[in-house]
């Protein structure tokens, strides 16, 4: 009777699908049509022949809603597998971000570089007035870095969304 638990939780769900026209629209349409949240979504082909794609979705809801989401995904015809990484145990979730900071003040530029170093962000573009940092990590880490850049002249953020995988020998 887990369905009665009213607490909201976040879930990272990986879906293996046939890489066919419209499959992403089917998944997104399911979420919008039934009023589920999408906090992050990534998709790309993952096998040699390009026939299968992996969709990683970060969503949130009560346990009952998350179970519904998985059941609804699983009944889509081109879906091969639906895995709730959050339920499988420990998993890794990473995303990449490009972060542009515009400032001419030398103190701010130095501070931005110091923080980038601490967060292991790489400078991949620099001008006299700007930096672009590239950074990979968990969503929380990226959020934290972006917040730190805000007073230093944060101008633009581009993020990939989450790619996720179970730790250890578990495969979906």
């Amino acid at each position: 009777m887990s369905g009665l638990d009213p607490t909201y939780r976040s879930a990272t769900i990986s879906v293996l699908v046939d890489n066919e026209a419209g499959v992403l629209a089917r998944v997104i349409g399911l979420f919008s049509g039934r009023g589920y949240n999408i906090d992050s979504l990534t998709v790309a082909p993952v096998d040699d022949s390009g026939q299968r794609s992996r969709i990683n979705i970060v969503t949130s809801g009560t346990q009952m809603v998350i179970d519904q989401i998985k059941a609804q995904l699983d009944r889509l015809v081109p879906v091969h597998r639906v895995s709730d990484l959050t339920q499988l145990g420990h998993h890794i979730a990473r995303e990449m971000a490009l972060i542009k900071v515009i400032t001419t003040e030398s103190e701010q530029r130095a501070e931005a570089l110091r923080l980038a170093d601490a967060f292991r962000a790489r400078v991949i573009d620099a001008t006299a007035r700007s930096f672009v940092f590239e950074m990979t990590g968990g969503t929380d880490k990226l959020d934290a870095f972006v917040e730190l850049m805000r007073p230093l002249g944060l101008a633009e953020v581009s993020r990939t969304g989450v790619a996720a995988m179970a730790r250890g020998t578990t495969v979906i």
């Binding site: 009777m1 026209a21 419209g22 629209a25 519904q68 059941a71 081109p78 091969h80 597998r81 639906v82």
Partner: protein, 606 residues
């Protein structure tokens, strides 16, 4: 977590030579899928298919008068035979007109394959004449859909469409066919014998869950079996297993609107339909039960009423072939994902071998309680019998049922949507599955006449009656012309109260009697309308004329419209007002004050 085995290897043999046109390959695939009838309407994009249809005799084409009706006709055909219904429409407006029928079939789990024409592949996306993004529009309207972009995919996709439509929880599938694919050469391949690469719904129940279910059922003191449309979809085996299970357990049985006929209505263990307009005994049994066995129903809001107050003290078992139906609205203790027939048969076998004794004393006490509720006679109505008295709609259906029984013909009933639909569900009694065609989930006015047409095509010698309202029937009245063309003797039995009756009822009960736009102004003369469509028209305006009109209608060899002028003010009772619980039913006009307690939350419900 699904545990799906690796996909079957793709076909290794070389594609056979393409000697036939795409349209010919399409028809061959349909024939191999057992299609005997297509309901359709031609147009530019599907001309190659119509040309191929012209040159063969295996598949019969029924020309409808509107594409929506083609889908409803295929639904009637499918629902009354258990086969997949097949539809053929053209691109653009042909496809968009079909959408209502597709959603109807999706909501009620009816297997349909709808072939839609499409502009040539090189024109897709160019806003070409009669182009629509059919796969985009129908994605949420279908179980699955396909756009065929290469001739070599055509036969495989058509076979797969039929597999998807009928497998697991059935539903509508669209195959969008660009014109150049239909004209160009395409290879033929037979239906795959290997398992589908990804879509393989579970049909066998888990033995552990069955054992848990039986333990729960044996412990029950106040059990109820809540049966739904899934039992009809699972075929005769499921209906017969349901009857056996009820007989061996002695449990009371109630049914959803979609499930009527799976269990015989005249059986003493049958409590009648449950839900918003269900019987007092069915709803109170659901409210008061301690163990509920849901077979093939989905805890729809028309059934549950206010979800927080729904059957508060019961432990619930839910058999459904669709895992997404389980724990969607109501959390259940024992879910069983399986085909209804297999699950019921497993329950019967496990009940027999399980050593525990059912609580017979508890059950006898429960039946005494149910008999008290039955004593309320919640479907009662009063029909004045004096000459010239106005006909009560309930009485009209009661007499239609009784006279039909006298005739003893195999009878199929379809309905439109509204008060007449609920009265038909309450007063027409079914003892076999697949005899009752109604739009349950979507509630589509205009469903009944085309559905009846599809039933009559499938069962040429049966008696097929569309119980209709005067407002609903006008939504697809053009199909009278189809009846004439194919000499289909469908009987249209209109309960004419000159109002959109259910709208009027809600306005009376919930909106202060302000009958905003619910009066049917300027109605046609239905007798003349029938005659203009080469059918017979007849009318009853008072109770003394009713039997004569019903007999004349049922014995006519032609299509008939019977205009039964009924009491304009009659309301459909019992009724659970929106937002109320099962034990807060209104039994009749004397309880109408009860709706004063409907909250704003309740008012917001449909």
């Amino acid at each position: 977590m699904s545990t799906i085995a690796p996909a079957a290897p793709t076909q290794a043999h070389p594609a056979p030579p393409a000697t036939q046109s795409g349209a010919e390959v399409l028809l061959r695939a349909l024939k191999d899928q057992g299609v005997e009838v297509i309901f359709g309407y031609p147009g530019g994009a599907v001309l190659p298919i119509y040309d191929a249809i012209f040159q063969q005799n295996a598949i019969r084409h029924i020309l409808v008068r509107h594409e929506q009706a083609a889908v409803h006709a295929a639904e009637g055909y499918a629902r009354s035979t258990g086969k997949v219904g097949c539809v053929l429409v053209t691109s653009g407006p042909g496809a968009t007109n079909a959408v209502t029928g597709l959603v109807d079939a999706l909501m009620d789990s009816i297997p349909i394959v709808c072939l839609t024409g499409q502009v040539a592949t090189h024109l897709i996306g160019n806003d070409a004449f009669q182009e629509a993004d059919t796969t985009g529009i129908t994605r949420p309207a279908t179980k699955h859909n396909y756009l065929v972009k290469r001739g070599e995919d055509l036969a495989r996709v058509v076979h797969e469409a039929f597999y998807v439509a009928r497998t697991g929880r059935p539903g509508p599938v669209v195959v969008d066919l660009p014109k150049d694919i239909l004209i160009g050469k395409a290879p033929y391949v037979s239906a795959a014998t290997a398992p589908h690469r990804s879509y393989r719904p579970r049909v066998e129940p888990d033995a552990g869950q069955i054992a848990r279910a039986v333990a729960l059922l044996k412990s029950a003191r106040r059990p109820v079996i809540y049966s739904g449309g899934g039992v009809i979809n699972a075929g005769d085996a499921a209906s017969s297993a349901l009857r056996r299970l009820a007989r061996m357990t002695g449990f009371p049985v109630t049914s959803t609107l979609m499930g009527l006929g799976a269990y015989p209505s005249n059986d003493p263990q049958f409590l009648g339909m449950l839900g918003m307009h269900g019987t007092y005994e069915a709803n109170l049994a659901m409210h008061g039960c301690d163990v509920m066995l849901n077979v093939g129903a989905r805890f729809d809001d028309r059934v549950t009423g206010k979800i927080a107050l729904f059957s508060p003290d019961s432990r619930k078992i839910h058999i459904d072939i669709d895992p997404s139906s389980i724990n969607k609205n109501v959390p259940v203790e024992v879910p069983v994902v399986a085909d209804a027939a297999r699950a019921l048969e497993a329950l019967i076998a496990a009940w027999e071998t399980d050593a525990a004794k059912p609580d017979r004393a508890g059950l006898a006490e429960w039946w005494r309680q149910i008999d008290v509720w039955r004593g309320k006679d919640s479907l009662r109505y009063r029909q004045p019998r004096d000459r010239g008295a106005v006909i009560k709609p309930q009485y009209a259906i009661q007499r239609l049922y009784e006279i039909t029984r006298e005739l003893g013909r195999d009878t199929y009933i379809s309905t439109e949507v509204g008060q007449h639909q609920m009265w038909a569900a309450q007063f027409f009694r079914f003892d076999q599955p697949n005899r009752w065609m109604t739009s349950g989930g979507l509630g589509t006015m205009g469903y009944g006449l085309p559905a009846a047409m599809g039933v009559q095509i499938a069962h040429p010698d049966a008696l097929v009656i569309d119980i209709a309202g005067e407002a609903s029937i006008l939504m697809n009245i053009q199909e009278m012309s189809t009846l004439a063309q194919y000499r289909l003797p469908v009987k249209v039995f209109i309960l004419n109260n000159q109002y959109m009756g259910m709208v009027r009822q809600w306005q009376e009960l919930l909106h202060g009697g302000r009958y905003s736009e619910s009066y049917s102004e300027a109605l046609p003369d239905f007798v003349k309308l029938a005659e203009s469509f080469h059918a017979e028209g007849m009318r009853a305006t008072s109770v003394d004329q009713l039997d004569h009109v019903i007999r004349a209608m049922l014995t006519s060899p032609k299509a008939v419209i019977a205009d039964i002028c009924v009491d304009q003010k009659e309301n459909c009772f019992p009724m659970i007002p929106s937002g109320a619980a099962h034990n807060q039913m209104l039994l009749g006009p004397e309880h109408e004050a009860g709706v004063a307690g409907v909250s704003d939350d309740g008012l917001a419900l449909v």
